[in-house]
Amino acid sequence: MMQLIAGQLINGIIVGSLYGIIALAVSLTSGITGVVNFALGAFMLVGAYLTWHLNETYGVAFPFAVILVMGVVALIGLVADVLLFRHTRNNLINGLIVSIGLVSVIVALVHMTWTSTPQNMQPFVTGVFTVGGVVVPKMKLLMGVVLILIVSMTYLGLTRTWMGRAAYAYAQNPEAAALMGVATGRLQVGVAAFGAALCGLAGSMYATLYSLTPDIGALYMLKGVEGALLAGIGSVIGALFGGILIGVAEGLGSVFLPLAFNDAYGLLMLVLVLLFRPAGLFGRR
């Protein structure tokens, strides 16, 4: 039993870090563009399929594929922001609807390009670590490390660089930042692109672990939103932590309780947190 729990703790942390990186994208974009962009899930979908496509069809080595994909998806995110979300700034609901529309457009395009046949990428790293009866696939471990690294780098970037500080300031207090002369427009577009890139990365990582179908985006988007709210919008490390909490809740949840209710365990925790800390665990509001 202890092994089971320990195993799911580790697994939950790793799976959660995948939620966490999307949560970070959600947190940043909604903190700065004022729109909770459901299309981020679709960006992850595109990222996953692109990675698989590059790797299987053109034999691009996985690490290079990841970098390529992040670039492409960032571009998509940028275009989407300039064409659509610029017009729904700070109208949360309209932005939400537009992003939902964008999701079905992207999913349709994915259908047309890659059909609904489930795809499965050749794993980049195979095999497992076994420590005291606890089994962890090597690829999962690698993914966890990469994602946590990326989040920490984002944090440093946001706290050390000028652009980052501007973004951070803006997320805390838009008016003040505007007064400080932060170029709001460019900042928002930049963050939108960066958020998309994070989702592209999440997609690449996803592709090495799980099978691809055109409907994966919605689920991970939901987990991302849960994670972001759990942590509180605008908190970087918090977003990762929020995602991990959800992952662990699900992992341990389905050790003791039926797997059929898997999605409920994270939600339940979220609701409880929101009721007693409406601004989330790390939010200031």
Binding site: V36, L84, H87, T88, L92, I93, N94, L96, I97, V98, I100, G101, L102, V103, S104, V105, V107, A108, L109, H111, M112, A218, V225, E226, L229, P258, A260, F261, D263, A264, L267, L268, L270, V271, L274, L275, P278
Partner: protein, 313 residues
Amino acid sequence: MRVLLLVLCGAVALVPALTANNLVLSVLTFTFILGILAVSFNLIYGITGQLTLFHAAAFGVGAYATHLSMAHWSISFWLGSAFAMGCVAVVSLLLGIVCFRFRLKEFYFAVVTLAFAEMIRLVVMNWHGLTNGSLGINFNLKPSVGVPGVGALVIEGPVRWYYFSLACVVVIVLAYQLVVNSWIGNAFKAIRLNEDVAASLGLNAFRYKLLSFVLGSMGASFAGGLYSHYMGFVDPHLLDINQSLAILSMALIGGTGSVAAPVVGALVVTALPHLIDLNAEWRLLIYGLILILTILLMPQGIVGSLQRLRKHA
């Protein structure tokens, strides 16, 4: 608005005379039933400004409760849906108290209601003993209405269903219209426009938000009962998240500004797949584009835009 509404009903009342085409009838019947759903959603979202994603759950629970109570206690459709509305009222009351007491607003309210809806869906999925889980339940129970002189008239066949659902949607819309025109409606609007002012003027926002949420959810429950009896079966898909999004797009496409406008949205959403005969991917693409363009080009929805055109002309 009410005049427009009557005109609309007048036009619609003639349809069975105009066409023997049962397909048009069934599309319109679905439109009316889903119209009730969209209208009740709009009371909460469009009028009172609270974005609930609990609506599909209210719809599904209503459908199940109506059927189960009818089947188990062999009561009439009306008693059944009354019971269902009672259940949904209680559930939404509790949920509403939790959300509004803790001052959850906008996106936070949306997500928490979504969370509860999802949990309820999972319960329905897994409570095999009561709901028969994901297999759903088939039944052949029909509503019936007492008509003076004729006696009990069983609702079956396209034409009867058409007029029955039409009558239902008209009654519901008028009922909501009465509420919205009253001081209660003023309170709802005030809360949507500026909750702080409303409070400073001695308006108990909590109470009125709760009222709106419960009234709307009860409408959804009634729509659920109708829907399941028109289809002759219930299954957990009624409670899907996507249902809530479909309801939202109905309201938006029709227009959130007035009580009845979402019915038009329901018509568009229901009829569209049968109007544009494209392969599935293209249809998905177009659906997405419609959502985007509606928001960007006519945020007041079809009805709102038409009204504006009339004003300017």
